[in-house]
């Protein structure tokens, strides 16, 4: 048998990209926002990141052990989930609540649905919403030693003026990673340059949201109001890092644009009409639920196919 050569189906070569490397790029892209979070909120921000990441990775490892599945922590997706979750928490949150969030994200949202690639909603956002309901007071407590006022979005809701420059840079209260639009954009540009994400989802999300706020925001064509809305809350973090989550967004190119539009409309609706000043998390999670339907209606035409001809075949 030894003189037989290997036989397999073509192609016989592969690119160098792996799932782990993509996840590593995402972690690197999150570093500017994470570092700014530590700078803005102090050492406790780092502590929360460490415990949520540890909670996520450990629960994935334990879960796979219990159900006798292959260990998957080396794909780094649990690290991404943990870090994203931490960036979505207020720095004052008790550490055990953060860990609980991490466990919920990995076990309930991801593993119970079959693990990586099978979850229907973003694990970090699922956990954030879980914490928001379970520990409503802790999750909306943005008062720290440095910041005693309300978040800019809440302030704007009450008709107060906000400092848009401080919002761009990120010297404002909020969750650990959402405050600095600039830090998030640096990470986003890195991801786009490395080919991790493209602009379809974030661009359609942000454009739709802007149009919605201009039409229904009640402030008319007020540029500084719009800037404050864009930089406030979790919009930037959500648009670039969470709506673009591969698993929970459509794979069809046209579907991605539709998905971004859904996120934009829902965020606008929640922010203008909702009881809360913020709505990014819920908007993305609800849009996640629409993904199967969006994909069904956005099957791309193949190369050289004409839409009418495809319809005549009776295919949808």
């Amino acid at each position: 048998m030894s003189d037989l050569y290997h036989v397999s189906s073509s192609p016989h070569v592969r690119s160098k990209d792996t799932t782990g490397r993509i996840m590593l790029y995402v972690v690197i892209a999150l570093l500017p926002a994470s570092l700014f979070g530590i700078f803005n909120f102090g050492f406790r921000a780092l502590l929360l990141m460490a415990v949520t990441i540890a909670g996520c990775v450990a629960s994935e490892w334990v879960y796979n052990k219990i159900v006798h599945k292959k260990d998957t922590i080396t794909d780094l997706s649990a690290v991404v989930t943990g870090l994203l979750l931490a960036l979505n928490l207020p720095v004052t949150l008790p550490w055990w609540e953060a860990v609980l969030g991490g466990v919920f994200a990995i076990v309930v949202v991801k593993c119970l649905f079959g693990g990586l690639g099978q979850n229907f909603m973003n694990p970090a956002l699922g956990a954030r919403c879980f914490l928001l309901i379970a520990f409503a007071a802790d999750m909306t407590n943005f008062v720290t030693d440095t910041y005693t006022g309300p978040t800019p979005l809440a302030a704007m809701r009450n008709g107060e003026a906000v400092d848009t420059m401080a919002m761009l840079i990120g010297r404002i209260p909020g969750t650990i990673g959402e405050t600095s639009a600039i830090a998030i954009l640096i990470g986003a540009i890195f991801m786009i340059l490395m080919g991790v994400i493209d602009l379809r989802i974030p661009a359609s999300y942000i454009v739709t949201f802007s149009v919605f706020m201009l039409l229904f925001g009640g402030h008319g064509f007020d540029f500084s109001y719009l800037t404050a809305q864009l930089c406030g809350g979790g919009l930037m973090l959500g648009a670039f890092f969470m709506a673009t989550d591969y698993v929970t967004s459509p794979i069809t190119p046209r579907g991605q644009i539709v998905f971004g539009i859904c996120c934009g409309i829902l965020t606008g609706l929640f922010r203008t009409m909702g009881a809360n000043a913020e709505g990014v998390s819920f908007a993305i999670i609800l849009s996640n639920l629409l993904v199967p339907m969006i994909e069904k209606y956005t099957v791309p035409l193949a190369f050289g196919q004409v839409r009418e001809a495809k319809k005549q075949e009776g295919g949808r």
């Binding site: 189906s9 073509s10 070569v13 799932t19 998957t72 690639g117 069809t252 035409l301």
Partner: protein, 439 residues
Amino acid sequence: MGSKTFKGGVHPFEGKELAKDQPIVEVLPKGDLVYPLSQHIGAPASPIVAVGDKVLKGQKIAEAGGFVSSPIYASASGTVKAIEPRRVAVGDMVKSIVVSNDGEFAEVEYTPCDNVAALSAQEIIDRVKEAGVVGMGGAGFPTHVKLSPKEPEKIEYIIANCAECEPYLTADYRRMLENPQELIEGMKIILQIFGKAKGILGIEDNKPDCIQKLTEMVRDEPRIEVCALQTKYPQGGERQLIYAVTGRAINSKMLPADAGCIVNNVETIIAVYNAVKLGKPVTNRISTITGDAVAKPGNYLYNIGTNYAELIDAAGGFSSQPEKIISGGPMMGFSMFGLDIPTTKTSSSLLCLTKDEVAQIEPSACINCGRCVEACPELLVPSRLAKFSDNGLSGEFEQWNGLECIECGSCSFICPARRQLAQSIKTMKKQVLAAKRKK
């Protein structure tokens, strides 16, 4: 600048350096020659010799089995030893004529054509058909069928596929450098059939010397142009090439002729020249014997039917133990478990790799990243098609245009989860097409 291309595609490691600068070397076979009766698309050829018959080089030994079929010629003189099933590169057993080689290479007399310009379109097509010319880039579609479209007056472009987009392959490259005159003459012969058509040589821009040389040579040919193409796989795919050159997109239900195009590979056009001008049937071709396991990678001209093992000897044997041997390129070629396989009209390359990278990888879960969607030159959603295939959902597979797949392998190549997407899709495609034929 301004090289043309298509949407999607991938950039595999090129590996052409290994054999690129090796001039074509002629190899004469020592052992038996084996001629599978099915080395083209269409009906198998039917033998017209019997065991014990003496044959000469250039003698017809099998007649075309229909219109979409092609005759087969002996490429060496000797005695017909057997007509029996033999293993071919794709792994099947195919009925083959085995000729024991007497080592003399006695040839029949060919009837060259002194005045090609006086030939009618039908005469040219007949000579091409008689010579057994098929698509020698790998597909093996009989060339005379391509040259006989329903409406010949609607053909606007004759495209020479000089892309050679498969990594490692350099045979077409050497042909363009060493036999450009034959290529251009062959193109002119085809253009003679189609009065309104323009001849275009589509060359990837990783071969600037070919682009320069051929551009200079066709300067005084009003009907022939060189078109530089972006270096990207699968630039030499028929539909992708047509799109890059003309901007016209065709799907699986259309023929290139529907877009006013006929596409032929370099080696095929040279075979057309040999057939029409010199009256020589297809008995020889050139292949790249390459890979890191080969002592002297290079480009070899040999008699079709030669055993692959003899070609390896010609290339200096193995310098190190190969793990995988591929007939064709690394993206679409067929891996073979042994070397006792005959070469055919479509053998463009033999690639010997010391390491089989595919054997070491382990597929993980699809993360829906969409890289396969970006890479697919047919604008499909390969990850979804593979899932439908794995779950046996043929209806969904068709709805998502699975039958449009050209099996280029770009999706498997790019997948970060290392999934065998192309393999799954090919499997389901075969099943769906088989079910359709039954109906």
